[in-house]
């Protein structure tokens, strides 16, 4: 009897604690949404309230009028989705090759890719910018890479260096390694090409892993900031994160429109999370946290 009471008490304490922590993580988001829908006067007269009687879209309208948020939204969408397609496809292709095919230079090229994980982006950021700017025959450059802007201020400045990273390859390789070899042997005897064996036999078997990788790639692409800020600096090429940062810098007292912009910059990843939670859990367990 006494033990039961103690257990009940402990359980209630646990729930109170859990709700308090959840309030700490969730409440700021609710407050962000509430600020975004509040008329300006009310933001200053009653900043803390969560509900407003005068629900309005004015802040969104103001945000979209001051800065081309929709254009930035589209830019980010194109870059993030493009990154997902190339990373999943080329990552799976290379991962499959490392896991299932025998070829010369397999070990060497694998350790080469492995070493790239040790090099932080900060070190390569300046020379990478120079490589993109002086890329031969791109963006008005001549064969020596002189005279134009190269890939700077184009989608390629993000899509090309990020088309397939070592992480995508390792991630996919792990899953192909769990599949048996004899599926390929049988297909080879039947005369299937190596690409068809990959595309029609092996890839469908690791579809959940491919979706997980796709989601992780989308999130990091959508949320990335520093590199897009460096290589996309013209007004119409900015991503939504860079646009939001610019907006925050120029209009840092317009909290309503600022929060409206923040809602727009957060929404896609949040929606993806809600609809694809089971893949998320898988991804988090495999790759740890974001940086």
């Amino acid at each position: 009897m006494w033990i039961n009471v103690k257990r009940k008490f402990r359980s209630i304490c646990w729930y109170i604690g859990a709700i308090l922590i959840a309030l700490m993580t969730v409440y700021p988001f609710l407050w962000m949404v509430s600020t975004a829908f509040k008329p300006e006067a009310e933001i200053f007269s009653n900043p803390l309230s969560l509900f407003s009687a005068n629900f309005s879209f004015d802040n969104f309208r103001a945000a979209l009028e001051t800065i081309p948020f929709m254009r930035y939204f589209m830019n980010s969408m194109i870059l993030a989705v493009g990154g997902v397609i190339t990373n999943v496809f080329f990552g799976a292709l290379a991962g499959y090759s490392f896991a299932k095919l025998k070829f010369k230079g397999r070990k060497a090229s694998f350790s080469l890719l492995l070493s790239s994980m040790m090099i932080p982006g900060v070190v390569t950021m300046i020379p990478q910018f120079l490589v993109l700017k002086n890329f031969p025959l791109a963006g008005g450059n001549n064969i020596l890479g002189q005279g134009g802007q190269g890939f700077i201020n184009s989608y390629a400045a993000i899509l090309l260096p990020g088309a397939v990273g070592a992480f995508a390859v390792f991630f996919m390789k792990q899953f192909f390694e769990t599949l048996p070899d004899d599926l390929a042997e049988a297909a080879r005897v039947d005369g299937s090409s190596e690409f068809r064996i990959f595309w029609q036999i092996y890839l469908p078997l690791i579809k959940p892993a491919a979706i997980t990788l796709g989601i992780m790639t989308f999130q990091s692409g959508w949320n990335s900031f520093m590199w897009p800020m460096i290589v996309l600096n013209s007004k119409e090429m900015m991503t939504i994160q860079v646009g939001l940062a610019t907006f925050q810098y120029q209009y840092n007292t317009k909290y309503g429109p600022l929060m409206a912009g923040t809602v727009l910059a957060t929404l896609p990843v949040l929606l993806l999370f809600i609809f694809a939670q089971k893949y998320y859990v898988q991804g988090i367990a495999l790759s740890g946290s974001k940086e």
């Binding site: 859990a18 700021p28 300046i126 120079l130 990959f198 940062a245 988090i284 974001k290």
Partner: protein
């Protein structure tokens, strides 16, 4: 050898040659991109660090001048000190917070997965969005934090406008934004500890604290080391938060190493000098990465 056997051998050879070619073709894209956008830039960074390259004029070789200048550069040391200060505050607190949250959620209740999701929510949002939200939360007059402090009769400070509190504000924001991710790693570490250990300890009459210090902590050593080195690698590259929340200010209190490299390289166009600082940062991060990988392989 009859004709069938010969045919079989030829077929095998054919497969092997095909595989050799296709295998290389399939791994070509990441390998080529690695050469173009990691290896060549890495070599270029080393080369640039011995020059005075400014994008406009051709680079001149200046020997070790850039590296010598670093040691007398007041701002480099301010940036280094700020980065270390951020690391010293953030890493232990981040570790503690995410471990505590994981231990808290490591119970047998159906609602755990709901709360796990809610605790993880801040991790999803971009650092820019989170920092913009915190810029509003930390507003001295209207912000959520000072409003909350006001309920307890505390007059909250001007967080971001005070050179002592600015970095602490950035740490608070980063803790809020990041603890959920490491909590997940600790949770999977905790799931890996077999229940029999705890059952045996219970039979022996061990209390909760004893089980924690004698079973949980020792078995989490590897996870803890991994998370700490990962956190340190991350904190030495902190940029977004400082850029959005304080623009490095007030009075350079939140200029970080990456921020300083970015400023030198892309605002002052002193790409040679920026490259030499980035190589020093690389050395620091490399040490952490090697320790991290050693731990990852070690059987602790």
């Amino acid at each position: 050898m009859n004709i069938w056997e010969r045919d079989e051998i030829l077929k095998r050879k054919d497969y092997a040659a095909k595989q050799n070619f296709m295998g290389r073709l399939f791994v070509a894209p990441p390998v080529i991109l690695f050469l173009l956008f990691t290896l060549i830039p890495m070599v270029m960074a080393i080369g640039l660090s011995f020059t005075d390259y400014d994008i406009i004029n051709a680079p001149n070789f200046v020997g070790l001048r850039n590296f010598k200048n670093i040691f007398t550069d007041e701002f480099f040391f301010i940036a280094l000190r700020n980065t270390c200060y951020y690391t010293v505050l953030y890493v232990p607190l981040g570790l503690l917070l995410s471990l505590a949250a994981a231990l808290f959620l490591n119970v047998n209740k159906k609602v755990v997965s709901l709360f796990r999701t809610l605790f993880y929510l801040p991790v999803l949002s971009s650092t820019v969005a989170t920092a913009t939200l915190w810029f509003w939360i930390l507003n001295p007059q209207l912000g959520l934090l000072n409003g909350l402090l006001g309920l307890f009769g505390i007059n909250g400070p001007a967080w971001l406008y005070n050179s002592r509190l600015a970095m602490i504000s950035i740490v608070m924001m980063s803790l809020w934004a990041g603890f959920g991710g490491n909590m997940m790693i600790f949770l999977s570490g905790l799931k890996g500890i077999p229940d029999v250990y705890y059952e045996a300890a219970r039979v022996e009459g061990a209390g909760r604290w004893k089980m924690f210090t004698k079973i949980t902590m020792p078995l989490l050593t590897k996870t803890t080391f991994l998370v700490s080195t990962m956190l340190i690698i991350g904190t030495f590259q902190v940029f977004d938060q400082a850029y959005i929340l304080t623009k490095g200010g007030p009075g350079n209190a939140t200029i970080t190493l990456v921020y300083y490299i970015y400023n030198q390289g892309f605002n002052n166009l002193d790409m040679g000098y920026a490259s030499s600082i980035s190589l020093i940062l690389f050395a620091i991060i490399l040490v952490m990465t090697i320790i991290n990988q050693k731990i990852n392989k070690a059987e602790i």
